[in-house]
C-alpha cells in the first residue's frame, strides 16, 4: 500500500527532517510512527498525502509515486486518504455536522446519502448528540474525535493520524485508540504518529530519531 524508497525531506533553509528512509506498509496493516519531538513523524505522514514533497527518493502510495504528482492530481490522491492532523484543522465557523460533511461536499456525494454517512461517522466517535455544536463548544477530546469522524466519513482505504491521542486523559485516549483499531479490523490501513505506543499493543512500530529510521 505504501512504500518509501530512500526518501529524504529537507525543509528550507536546510533542516533535514527525514533522511534516507525506506520501509513498506502492507494493506490492512496498522503501523505506529514514534520518536521524539522533531523526529520527523508529522513530516513522514505529510509526504504520504503529498502535503509536502520529498526532496529525494520515491514515496509510493498504491503504486503511484506521489512526490511526482502534478498539482491537478493531488485532490484525487487526498480523497483516497483520511487524515487526522496534529492541529486538527477544524473549521470553527461550521458546526460538527458541517465539518464532517466537508469531505463529502468536496467529492460531490449525493446529499441525502451524505447526511446519513455524516451521522454514522459522528455516531461512531460518540458525537451523534453534538452535531449542531460548533467546535469551540466541544472539549479537547471531543474535537479530537470530530477530526477523526471527518477523516473516516469518506470511507478511505488509508487512514493517517498525527497524535490523535495527545492531550487526552487515559480513558478518552483508550476510546480513541479503540476507534482506530475498529477501522483497522474492517480492512483500513492505519498509520498513527504517536508517543503513546502502549495504547496500540501488537501494532508494528517505525521508530524515528532525528529523521532517521532506527532498525
Amino acid at each position: 500500500m505504501i512504500r518509501f524508497d530512500r526518501v529524504s525531506k529537507r525543509y528550507p533553509p536546510g533542516v533535514d527532517a527525514l533522511s534516507d528512509i525506506s520501509f513498506e506498509v502492507a494493506e490492512r496493516e496498522m503501523v505506529l510512527v514514534s520518536g521524539h519531538s522533531g523526529a520527523g513523524k508529522s513530516t513522514l505522514l505529510k509526504l504520504i498525502a503529498a502535503v509536502e514533497k520529498s526532496t529525494g527518493g520515491a514515496v509510493l502510495v498504491g503504486g503511484q509515486n506521489v512526490s511526482g504528482l502534478a498539482r491537478a492530481a493531488l485532490p484525487y490522491l487526498r480523497r483516497r486518504i483520511g487524515m487526522v492532523f496534529q492541529d486538527q484543522k477544524l473549521l470553527f465557523d461550521r458546526n460538527a455536522f458541517e465539518n464532517v460533511m466537508l469531505p463529502l461536499s468536496i467529492t460531490g456525494f449525493p446529499r441525502r446519502e451524505a447526511a446519513q454517512r455524516v451521522r454514522a461517522a459522528l455516531d461512531k466517535v460518540g458525537l451523534s448528540s453534538r452535531e449542531k455544536a460548533l467546535p469551540v463548544m466541544l472539549s479537547g477530546g471531543e474535537q479530537q474525535r470530530l477530526a477523526i469522524a471527518r477523516a473516516v466519513v469518506g470511507r478511505p482505504k488509508l487512514l493517517l493520524a498525527d497524535e490523535p491521542t495527545a492531550h487526552l486523559d487515559a480513558d478518552t485516549a483508550a476510546d480513541v485508540a479503540r476507534i482506530f483499531k475498529e477501522f483497522n479490523h474492517v480492512g483500513v490501513t492505519v498509520l498513527i504518529a504517536t508517543y503513546a505506543g502502549d495504547l496500540f499493543p501488537g501494532a508494528r512500530r517505525l521508530q524515528l530519531e532525528h529523521g532517521k529510521l532506527l532498525p
Binding site: A49, V51, A72, L74, P75, Y76, L77, R78, R79, M83, F85, K89, L91, F92, D93, L102, P103, S105, I106, T107, G108, F109, P110, R111, R150
Partner: protein
C-alpha cells in the same frame, strides 16, 4: 449533473452566508458598487429619454424652397412639377403665398404689421421631405435646388437636427467613457473585496485543499460572492436611477415644456435593466476571477 448542480448550489449558499455574516460590510460594498454603476446607468437613462424625445418631435428634416417674390403661379407650377419628378425628394408640399399670408394674419401680434404693408410680402414656397436625410446629402440637394430658375432662397431645416444629433453623440460618448471607467472601478472594488475574503477564509481554503478539494471547488464560492456583489450593486444602481427618474420627472417636464416639447422621464426599460444587472454581475465575477488568480495560488 445533479451532483454538479448541488455543488454550485452549495457554493451559492456559502457565498450568501458569507455576505450575510457581515451585513454592514456587505451593505457598504453594495452601496459603493451601486453608486459607481448609477452614474453611467443614469446617463444611459437620460440618453434613452433624449433619443425618444428627438424621435417624437418631428425631427424629420425638411428643405424649404422659396420662389422669388415676382414669380407668378405658372412658374411655381413648373418648379413643382420639376421637384416632383426628382427621385431624391419624397414629398412636395406647395404653400401658396395667400395661404401663408392668411396664416400669419391669424397671429394677433403680426396682423397689424402685415396689414400696414401694401402687398403680400410672402412668396410662394415648397416644403420638401427628402429621401436621404443625412446632412451631407441634404446639403448637396439644397445646392442643386438653388440653381432652379426663379428660386430665390433654399433653406435647410436640418441645422437643429444636426445640433441635437451632435449633442446626443456627445452624450453617448460621455456615457461610454463613464461606463468604461466605472466598470474598471467596479472590477477593482470586486478585486479587493475578494482579496479580503480570501484572507478571511484562509483556513477554510487550506483545509479544503488538504481534504481533496480541487481549485475549482475552492474558487467557486468566491466567484459567486463576486457575482452576487455585482448583481446586488446593479440592483442598488437600478433603484438609484429609477428613484432619480421619478424625482426629476416633474422639474424636467417643466423645463422641456418651455421648448414646446413634452417629456415624461421614463425609468430604464426592461432591456436596459436586464443589461445593467447582467453587466454588473459579470464585472463582479471578473474582478473575483482576477483576484483569485492573484491570491489563491500562494495558499
Amino acid at each position: 449533473m445533479t451532483a454538479w448542480l448541488a455543488q454550485h448550489g452549495d457554493a451559492v449558499r456559502l457565498a450568501m452566508r458569507r455576505l450575510a455574516s457581515a451585513p454592514v460590510n456587505s451593505l457598504l460594498y453594495l452601496l459603493a458598487i451601486g453608486v459607481a454603476l448609477a452614474l453611467p446607468a443614469g446617463g444611459q437613462m437620460l440618453l434613452a429619454n433624449a433619443l425618444s424625445l428627438a424621435g417624437t418631435t418631428s425631427a424629420v428634416p425638411h428643405i424649404s424652397v422659396f420662389m422669388a417674390a415676382n414669380a407668378d403661379r405658372g412658374m411655381a407650377a413648373e418648379i413643382e412639377s420639376r421637384l416632383k419628378k426628382r427621385g431624391d425628394i419624397k414629398r412636395v408640399q406647395f404653400l401658396p403665398r395667400e395661404e401663408t399670408l392668411a396664416r400669419m394674419k391669424a397671429n394677433p401680434g403680426l396682423r397689424d404689421v402685415i396689414e400696414a404693408l401694401a402687398a403680400n410680402p410672402f412668396p410662394d414656397a415648397f416644403v420638401l421631405a427628402v429621401a436621404d436625410e443625412r446632412p451631407e446629402a441634404m446639403e448637396r440637394l439644397a445646392v442643386e435646388l438653388r440653381q432652379l430658375p426663379r428660386v430665390e432662397h433654399v433653406q435647410l431645416d436640418s441645422a437643429w437636427v444636426r445640433r441635437l444629433d451632435a449633442l446626443l453623440q456627445l452624450g453617448r460618448t460621455a456615457v461610454l467613457v463613464l461606463g468604461v471607467l466605472l466598470s474598471a472601478g467596479l472590477i477593482a472594488i470586486s478585486f479587493s473585496i475578494i482579496r479580503m475574503q480570501v484572507l478571511t477564509h484562509r483556513t477554510e481554503i487550506e483545509v479544503s485543499g488538504l481534504l481533496g478539494a480541487t481549485d475549482g471547488f475552492i474558487r467557486r464560492p468566491f466567484l459567486y460572492y463576486g457575482l452576487l456583489l455585482g448583481l446586488g450593486g446593479g440592483i442598488v444602481a437600478w433603484l438609484l436611477v429609477g428613484a432619480a427618474a421619478l424625482w426629476l420627472r416633474a422639474p424636467l417636464g417643466e423645463l422641456v415644456r418651455l421648448y414646446d416639447l413634452t417629456l415624461v422621464l421614463q425609468t430604464p426599460g426592461t432591456r436596459d435593466s436586464a443589461l445593467l444587472l447582467a453587466f454588473a454581475a459579470g464585472l463582479g465575477w471578473l474582478g473575483a476571477i482576477i483576484s483569485l488568480q492573484q491570491h489563491l495560488r500562494k495558499s
